[in-house]
C-alpha cells in the first residue's frame, strides 16, 4: 500500500528531497533562533532576553517542538552520512589527478566537513545552554550565562569560529535545496542564488555578532 512512498523515499531523488526539506526546516529554525537571540541587544540589563526566554520556556508546546527539531536534525545528519557513503561507493577507485571544471564553490565542495563541524558545535552548544539551562523562575540568569561563556577566550573562539562552517554550509544549502525540489526557473534563478548567499551571510554574521559583542565590547 505504501510501496510508492517507500520507493520514492529510497530513490536517489527522494533522499535528496528529504535532505532539502529537512535542511530548509533547519534554516527556518536558525532564523527564529537568531531573531530570539537578538533581544540580547535590546537593553543592557537583559530584560528583553529574559522575557523572551521565559515566554519560550513556559510554552507547553516547547517539548513537542524540541522533539520535532531533534528529528529534523537527526534525519538531515543520518541521510547526509548515508548519501555521502553511497556517493563514495559510486565513484569506486578515484582519480589520480583531478581538476574541477570550475563549477564547485567552497561551500558546495565542503558540505560534509562543514556539516560535521556544525554538529560538533551543536553538541557543545547544547551542553552549554540546553542541558544546563536555569529553572523557569531564574531565567534572568541566562543572559549572564551567555555573557560569561562568550566573553571568555575559549567560548569566543568556539562561538565565533563555528560561524565559518555554518556560513559556508548555508552558502550552498538554500539554492541546492530549491534545485532538488525542482524549483528552478530562469526568472528566479539569479534571485535564488542571491537570497541563498544573502541568507548565509545574514545568519552567519548575525550569530557571530554575539561572541564579537561580548568578547570585544565587554558589555552589549
Amino acid at each position: 500500500m505504501l510501496s510508492w512512498l517507500q520507493r520514492t523515499l529510497r530513490s536517489s531523488i527522494g533522499k535528496k528531497v528529504l535532505m532539502a526539506c529537512t535542511g530548509l526546516g533547519l534554516i527556518g529554525f536558525l532564523i527564529g533562533h537568531l531573531a530570539g537571540n537578538l533581544t540580547l541587544f535590546a537593553d543592557s540589563e537583559g530584560e528583553a532576553f529574559t522575557h523572551y526566554a521565559t515566554t519560550l520556556n513556559s510554552n507547553p508546546a516547547l517539548p513537542v517542538v524540541e522533539v520535532g527539531l531533534t528529528l529534523l536534525f537527526l534525519a538531515h545528519i543520518v541521510l547526509a552520512f548515508k548519501v555521502t557513503r553511497e556517493n563514495r561507493e559510486a565513484r569506486g577507485k578515484g582519480y589520480t589527478l583531478r581538476n574541477d571544471h570550475g563549477a564547485r564553490t567552497p561551500g558546495s565542495r565542503s558540505m560534509m566537513i562543514t556539516g560535521v563541524l556544525i554538529l560538533a558545535f551543536i553538541v557543545v552548544h547544547l551542553i552549554d545552554f540546553r542541558f544546563d539551562k536555569p529553572e523557569l523562575e531564574e531565567m534572568s540568569l541566562l543572559a549572564g550565562m551567555v555573557e560569561s561563556r562568550l566573553s571568555g577566550t575559549v567560548g569566543f573562539l568556539i562561538y565565533f569560529g563555528a560561524m565559518v562552517p555554518l556560513t559556508l554550509h548555508l552558502s550552498h544549502a538554500f539554492q541546492s535545496a530549491l534545485q532538488t525540489l525542482g524549483l528552478n526557473h530562469p526568472k528566479y534563478n539569479c534571485l535564488i542564488k542571491v537570497v541563498g548567499r544573502g541568507l548565509a551571510l545574514i545568519i552567519g554574521l548575525g550569530f557571530a555578532s554575539f561572541p564579537l559583542a561580548y568578547f570585544f565590547g565587554g558589555n552589549a
Binding site: W4, R7, T8, S11, S12, I13, G14, K15, K16, V17, V83, E86, N87, E89, A90, R91, G92, K93, G94, Y95, T96, L97, R98, N99, D100, H101, G102, A103, R104, S108, R109, M111, H172, Q175, S176, Q179, T180, L181, G182, L183, N184, P186
Partner: protein, 259 residues
C-alpha cells in the same frame, strides 16, 4: 608523417592508465612522444602512440572512439584531471594538440565510476546508460504513414528546450566529472527531451519512474548540485534539466497515475 615542422612539432610525456581487465589493479605507464603535430586531434596523438608501441612489439593502449567528429559520444578520457580535456564544450576527439605545449606532461585516465567498469586500459563499459534508455527513454508509437507536418503543435520555446536536451550524446562525461558519480544530467536530458513534447506525454509518469529506478539500480551516486556535470558536458546540457527531472519524478511519484 611530417617530421621537421619545428613550430608545430611537440615533445610530450604521457602518463597513460593501463589496466588488463575489470579486476586488474591498473597502473600508470609513462611514454614519450617526440614528434606530435599541433594539428593532430588528441585521439590521433594516441594513434601515434599506439603505432610506436606496436613497432616496439608492445600492446597498444585500448581507448574508446568511433565517429571522431563529436557526435557519437563514444570517446571519453579524463585528461590532466578534466573530462574530455581542458577545452569547454568539446569531446576528446575534437580536442586538438595545439591546446598543449611542447614539453607538457599529460595524465590520461579512464572515466571512473562503479557503474562504468573499465574493460581495458582507457575503455569503459557505459552500457548502464543504454539500460536507462531501455527502461523508458522512448515513446511507443504506431508506425504507419508519416504524420503531416505541424499536425501536432509544439511551441517554439518547448521545441528549443527539447532540442537542447536532445543534444546529449550520452558520453558519460557528466558521471565522470560529478564528484558523486551521479548520472542525473544524462537521465534528466533524456527525460526532458520527451517530457517537453506532446509525443512524450502519454508515458510521462511511467517513463520518469522507470528511468530513475534504473539509474539508481545501476549504482550511480546521488546529486548534490555541484553543477560540475554542466561545466564538463561537451554539449553544454544545462542543470535546468536536473531540476525538471526532480519535478517530473516528484509529480509522477506523488500524484501520478501509474501505480
Amino acid at each position: 608523417m611530417s617530421a621537421g615542422h619545428d613550430s608545430s612539432s611537440m615533445k610530450l610525456t604521457l602518463h597513460v592508465w593501463r589496466q588488463k581487465g575489470p579486476d586488474d589493479e591498473g597502473r600508470f605507464e609513462i611514454h614519450r612522444l617526440n614528434d606530435v603535430s599541433q594539428d593532430m586531434s588528441f585521439l590521433e596523438m594516441l594513434d601515434v602512440l599506439n603505432e610506436q608501441l606496436t613497432n616496439e612489439g608492445r600492446e597498444p593502449v585500448v581507448f574508446d572512439h568511433d565517429c571522431r567528429e563529436g557526435i557519437c559520444g563514444m570517446c571519453s578520457l579524463v585528461i590532466n584531471g578534466q573530462v574530455h580535456g581542458p577545452v569547454p564544450e568539446i569531446t576528446t576527439c575534437q580536442l586538438h594538440m595545439r591546446k598543449f605545449n611542447d614539453g607538457d606532461t599529460i595524465y590520461i585516465e579512464p572515466f571512473r565510476a562503479k557503474a562504468f567498469p573499465i574493460i581495458r586500459d582507457l575503455a569503459t563499459d557505459r552500457t548502464a546508460f543504454d539500460r536507462i534508455i531501455q527502461s523508458g527513454g522512448f515513446v511507443s508509437v504506431n508506425t504507419g504513414n508519416a504524420p503531416d507536418a505541424n499536425a501536432l503543435l509544439v511551441s517554439k520555446q518547448n521545441a528549443d528546450e527539447a532540442m537542447d536536451a536532445a543534444a546529449c550524446i550520452g558520453c558519460g562525461g557528466c558521471v565522470a566529472a560529478c564528484p558523486n558519480a551521479a548520472a542525473m544530467l544524462f537521465t534528466s536530458a533524456k527525460v526532458s527531451q520527451l517530457a517537453l513534447l506532446p509525443q512524450g506525454a502519454p508515458e510521462r509518469d511511467a517513463r520518469v519512474l522507470a528511468m530513475v529506478g534504473q539509474m539508481d539500480a545501476e549504482g550511480f551516486g546521488n546529486c548534490t548540485n555541484e553543477s560540475e556535470c554542466q561545466a564538463a558536458c561537451p554539449k553544454g546540457i544545462s542543470v535546468t534539466n536536473i531540476a525538471r527531472l526532480n519535478r517530473e519524478y516528484l509529480r509522477a511519484s506523488l500524484v501520478g497515475k501509474s501505480q
